[in-house]
């Protein structure tokens, strides 16, 4: 497998021209994105993502490719990228000197080059090299990239690097959906459903409403969002396509219609309905709208979520007097197992796509905190240091968790590494909350 990869890398590497000559760049600004690392970086990979040759051809400072890649890798907690200000200018400008990078303890080096092909069109090469054994792990070219897609190309580079070094899929070329509260002075408060890149850049509005919106879920093919809207002065579930062409109310029964979550196969929606007198969890076949009831207790059952294999659900029930996470198998839903035991309030579970963990919100002395539980060992761990956390959502590779919290400025969206050691507040303007991390869409 490794030799296969290096053969491929050599063939691709041969296609790259002039990649060994580098010069100092005028771009020097370190991105203001702050990644807070707690508990040390000893278990993360040291990597030097050197400034891309030709970066100055790109006028927009938001398109600093090396910095986008560094920020991506740092956000994962699995990498400890060297700061550009700590790199030797001579070594960045000169020929690639792998022994130098090895001596300054950078096990991996990324070099790249940008060329302008036409007005607002670029070609970008990127190579990843192991400085310890000089093996080239990735060599790729992005051709005909418009300025608008340069950040997407950089996220794809991050994914390629992440995958080559960790052996796990990357999840940077993905999107987040979330709710933004628009409090423009002098205007009525509005709730805006937005979709942005996984680092919070390039937001665009999908829906604007004068009434609250919440509980966003992506269809597995990333073409549609299900969410809860109060536009008719009560909670109803709507499915809307991202291209804006279709918008359909799928549940508007008496009482609550809420907490929609798409099944891994895209055929069903889990939802909470109180049409039976109290909130219970149902599964709706999307094509036929047929409903099957999955919980039957007279307590509150809500916040259902699919197990990774789609054969069971985790949900919140207060049948023991306080919210706790339970699990039910689809083929025998009345056989309910309690999953959380520590803490008196454990709610809004979500399963990692790899099936190993659930994340949920736990009430602690310091507030409501994102918590993970290893489904093998059953050990739980509070991983956030903020205090009014909501809506944890796993990245498609299970290695990061997006969530929202409040501070004196309003709602914020942050990304935590799954172990909680790396915390990054995303750079999204405004009062934002309830992120839902979209699936991998293709590319690569």
């Amino acid at each position: 497998m490794h030799s296969t990869r290096s053969i491929l890398a050599k063939i691709l590497g041969a296609c790259l021209v002039g990649a060994s000559v580098f010069m100092t760049l005028g771009v020097s600004a370190e991105d203001p994105v702050r990644v807070e690392i707690t508990g040390g970086t000893e278990q993360s990979y040291p990597i030097a993502v050197t400034p891309f040759k030709g970066q100055m051809l790109i006028a927009n400072a938001d398109y600093n490719l090396a910095q986008i890649v560094r920020d991506d890798l740092a956000r994962s907690g699995r990498f400890n990228p060297m700061r550009e200000s700590e790199m030797s200018a001579a070594k960045v400008a000169g020929e690639l000197d792998l022994d130098y990078w090895r001596k300054v303890a950078q096990d991996y080096v990324v070099i790249g080059e940008v060329r302008q092909q036409a007005a607002d069109m670029y070609q970008v090469d990127m190579r990843l090299i192991n400085s310890l054994n000089h093996q080239e792990l990735v060599a790729r070219r992005w051709n005909g990239v418009s300025g608008q897609l340069l950040r997407t190309a950089a996220h794809q580079m991050s994914d390629a690097i992440y995958s080559a070094v960790t052996g796990r899929g990357g999840a940077f070329d993905t999107r987040l959906a979330y709710v933004k509260i628009d409090r423009t002075p002098g205007k009525r408060k509005m709730f805006v459903l937005e979709v942005a890149d996984s680092d919070g850049y390039a937001p665009r509005a999908i829906l604007r409403s004068y009434m609250p919106l919440m509980s966003i879920s992506w269809s597995p093919d990333a073409t549609r969002l299900a969410y809860v809207t109060f536009e008719n002065r009560r909670p109803e579930i709507v499915v809307q396509s991202l291209d804006g062409r279709s918008r359909q109310t799928v549940a508007a029964f008496e009482g609550i219609n809420s907490a929609p979550v798409w099944s891994p196969d895209g055929r069903s929606l889990l939802m909470t309905l109180s049409k039976g007198g109290n909130p219970d969890i149902y599964v709706m076949d999307v094509a036929s709208k047929r409903l099957t009831q999955l919980t039957f207790d007279s307590a509150i059952e809500t916040e259902g979520t699919w197990a990774a294999d789609g054969q069971a659900i985790y949900f919140n029930s207060d049948r023991r007097g306080q919210p706790q996470v339970f699990k039910a198998e689809l083929n025998n839903p009345r056989d309910v197992k309690r999953i959380t035991f520590e803490g008196r309030y454990n709610a809004r579970p979500v399963a990692s796509p790899d099936g190993r963990y659930i994340a949920f919100v736990r009430q602690e002395v310091g507030g409501f905190k994102v918590t993970t539980q290893d489904l093998v060992s059953n050990e739980s761990k509070v991983i956030s240091s903020t205090g009014s956390d909501e809506s944890p959502s796993f990245s498609p590779n299970s290695d990061m968790i997006a969530y929202s919290y409040n501070d004196y400025r309003g709602g914020m969206i942050a990304v935590l590494s799954r172990n909680g050691r790396a915390f990054t507040k995303l750079n999204i303007n405004g009062d934002v909350r309830d992120p839902a991390w979209g699936p991998l869409v293709s590319s690569q």
Binding site: R140, L149, Q156, Q322, R348, S388
Partner: protein
């Protein structure tokens, strides 16, 4: 077909394609952005005036001090047979949004139970929940929270 053959084909394909690899088309879809739908303009009504029933955190039991408030509403509805009531349940911002939506409904139902016990027909009562999303008072401390854990009476 073996893995090796697939690999050889993949490499041949890449070489023929001139080693090119372009970003996904996902991003290009944004260029022809359709108009963003705007909804809910008619549903946004301010919090109603009048007496409210308040609750403890994560609880839906009616506290004794609020029984007279509900009984007064029951008396009004009994005297005005053409009127009906929508009970709107709310929560403070703490805890999870979806659970709070259910908790708000449970609070509205607790009030509905008292109205029914005082002679109001179930057909004249509607319960609805807004969870934590329509606070009466903005704020992040108990003085705001205690005013947000409430049920409002909307006479229709």
């Amino acid at each position: 077909m073996t893995k090796l053959n697939l690999f050889a084909m993949a490499v041949a394909g890449l070489v023929l394609a001139g080693c090119s690899s372009t970003p996904t088309e996902e991003g290009t879809k944004t260029t022809a952005a359709p108009a963003v739908p705007v909804v809910g303009a008619g549903a946004d009504r301010a919090s109603v005036a009048g007496e409210k029933v308040y609750f403890d955190f994560d609880r839906a039991e009616i506290k004794a001090e609020f029984m007279p408030v509900i009984k007064a509403q029951a008396a009004y509805l009994t005297a005005n047979a053409s009127k009906s009531v929508a009970l709107e349940g709310h929560c403070d911002e703490r805890g999870t949004r979806e659970y709070n939506l259910s908790l708000g409904e449970r609070r509205a139902q607790s009030v509905a139970d008292v109205l029914k016990a005082n002679g109001v027909a179930a057909s004249r009562i509607k319960s609805v929940s807004f969870g934590e999303d329509r606070p009466a008072v903005e704020g992040n401390d108990e003085s705001a929270w205690s005013k947000n854990r409430r049920v409002e009476f909307v006479i229709q």
